[in-house]
């Protein structure tokens, strides 16, 4: 029989105020099955009436040992696990992982593949922000918003299915390029979406931006200062809502982001409303990037022709002995990466998604660490929640837009 170890208040004494021990304030458990915690996040709240005195997040309910599992797979096979981290930003996770592998083995990516990667990650960013705006509004009792947002998200997922065969876990981006070229229907599908979506954003804004019920819950709630945000390692829209102009797409352009004309929206207030405005503006900017990338989409190969790392196309295998050998070796042994480590980061919808990758000269990653933005962002909840009402905590959680799969890995 396994002995269960109970966590007692004594273990948490250092985290709550002295008043909790004397019984003046109440300790209340929120989650992990609470609908407004967006996944399995548990918050232990110390409450003085309705006011949050202390908030202790408890994470790990979704821990699946992805980093450990990846160490046991080859570089190509480990990629499927990255989809399962942040399941609202699967293409972005693939991109972060592939960029780290490409940096480690020094692999080139053809321009057409870069442009396709940009289009798909930006579409995925829109899909992720749509889930955010839908669930955030749902938490604040605007139920129809949820339906609208998921209606549009479905169009994006259809596009992902068109190119990769999968709605969510695409694994479409591969080290050295993408899996295969986009189908002919792709351009029309994306153009249709670009045509209808600006109007839909206007609709969302008409419904929410000046809505007094929403303003009540967002304005001035959950303020995070610039200094605190940096100290807590918060990145992404939350950091930009505190007045820091930091977007890796702009500051350290990758995949040809320097060719595209877009602005990085920032606000200075640092509250829920500022985060809302930043994300809505980001959706418009993402759409601009998708349109430019689609207009400029260059012709050419979608995979590197470095056969030591990238499998040859099927057409070559039938005629070339060398291609057959490469294909066989890459899918049985995998490719070898040098004994060294790299850190490479991309801007995910939630912030800096970094991949620390260390090779040992063999075909499997020796150590891979995903620096997931939600982890740091959720770490800052106590800072934002202190002194607010429990109801405001729901609004704060919604405005952080975290994904538990991203936190627990």
């Amino acid at each position: 029989m396994v002995q269960l170890q109970e966590v007692t208040v004594d273990d948490l004494k250092h985290l709550v105020s002295g008043r909790a021990i004397e019984g003046e304030t109440m300790l209340l458990n929120m989650g992990p099955q609470h609908p407004a915690t967006h996944g399995v996040l548990r918050l232990l709240l110390e409450l003085d009436g309705e006011i949050v005195v202390n908030c202790i997040p408890d994470i790990g309910f979704l821990h699946t040992g992805i980093e450990k599992n990846m160490e046991a797979k080859t570089y190509q096979k480990a990629e499927v696990m990255t989809d399962r981290l942040d399941y609202l930003n699967t293409v972005g996770n693939n991109l972060a992982y592939c960029m780290a592998v490409e940096k480690l083995v020094d692999l080139d990516v053809p321009p057409r593949a870069q442009a396709i990667r940009v289009i798909l990650t930006e579409l995925q960013r829109l899909a992720s922000h749509l889930v955010w705006i839908g669930t955030h509004a749902l938490d604040l009792a605007a139920m129809s918003m949820f339906m609208y947002a998921f209606r549009e998200r479905e169009i994006i997922l259809d596009i992902l299915e068109l190119v990769s065969g999968q709605r969510m876990m695409t694994t479409y981006i591969r080290p050295g390029g993408v899996w295969r070229d986009v189908p002919v229907e792709f351009e029309a599908a994306v153009r249709d979406f670009i045509k209808i979506f600006p109007k839909r954003i206007d609709e969302y804004e008409a419904l929410l931006t000046k809505n007094p019920l929403l303003l009540d819950r967002l304005l001035g709630v959950g303020v995070l200062t610039k200094e605190k945000a940096l100290s807590y390692g918060v990145t992404g829209p939350i950091l930009r809502a505190t007045g820091v102009d930091w977007d890796l797409r702009k500051k350290r352009p990758y995949m040809g982001y320097e060719q595209y004309d877009f602005i990085v929206p920032t606000r200075t207030e640092g509250d829920n409303y500022a985060r809302y405005l930043v994300r809505v503006q980001e959706m418009r900017e993402s759409l601009k990037i998708v349109e430019q990338a689609l207009n400029k989409l260059p012709m050419g190969p979608v995979r590197s022709d470095n056969r030591k790392f990238v499998p040859p196309p099927r057409s070559e295998i039938g005629t070339s002995m060398e291609a057959l050998i490469h294909h066989f070796k890459l899918w049985t042994e995998g490719f070898e990466a040098p004994k060294a480590s790299v850190y490479s980061a991309v801007e995910s919808p939630r912030g800096e998604l970094g991949v620390f990758l260390e090779g040992d000269g063999g075909p499997k990653p020796y150590r891979i660490h995903m620096r997931t933005p939600s982890f740091e962002n959720v770490g800052a909840i106590p800072e934002m929640a202190k002194g607010h009402l429990v109801a405001d905590l729901i609004a704060i959680i919604g405005s952080i837009d975290f994904v538990l799969g991203d936190i627990d890995r």
Binding site: V2, L4, G65, E67, A345, E352, G354, D408
Partner: protein, 170 residues
């Protein structure tokens, strides 16, 4: 490597006892555990690395001296630079001073490193496990910790394996 980054590394080499490696334009600075808090503080206050992007560890088992590297990835928003600080940790005494006082984000990341690798962070305000259950034994990301799997049951050994399986039996 970037000129500005090179100057920072030289300044660090002057002030502290650090060694330095370069790979694909990234600067990896090796620091002894005793100096880590000073180095991180100096990087934040003097060299404007305001963001602790990542804090993690690597296990080099069966190598014992050092067995672990604790890795601090710092980002400077003002200068748009990144630097990696590595702290070698011995297997016999896996203790590193905490940098929670310098960066608040180190709190959770150090808890994660303790949980996954069993590295103690001396002076940490909240040294609990973070991802694994509180009563978990062992540290999963250590290289001598096996990757678990389920034993396949065949007709001839079904009952024998079933006895060992940890699920609720009547």
């Amino acid at each position: 490597m970037d000129n500005k980054l090179e100057k920072i590394v030289q300044a660090l080499q002057k002030d502290f006892d650090v060694t330095f490696e370069e790979f694909r334009g990234e600067a990896h600075v090796f620091v002894q555990p005793e100096q880590i808090v000073e180095v991180i503080t100096s990087l934040r206050d003097v060299h404007e690395f305001e963001l602790l992007s990542a804090l993690t560890a690597v296990d080099y088992w069966p190598q014992q001296e050092p067995r672990f590297h604790v890795i601090y990835q710092l980002t400077s928003l003002a200068k748009n630079l990144s630097i990696q600080v590595r702290v070698p940790v011995a297997a016999t005494r896996p203790v590193v001073p905490t940098v929670t006082g310098v960066f608040a984000s180190a709190n959770w990341r150090e808890r994660e490193a303790w949980d996954m690798f069993g590295i103690h962070f001396d002076g940490h305000p909240d040294p609990r496990r973070i991802l694994m259950p509180a009563d978990w034994e062992g540290h999963p990301l250590r290289k001598d910790y096996p990757l678990g799997y389920e034993e396949p049951q065949f007709t001839f050994n079904f009952d024998e394996i079933d006895l060992r399986k940890p699920y609720a039996k009547e």
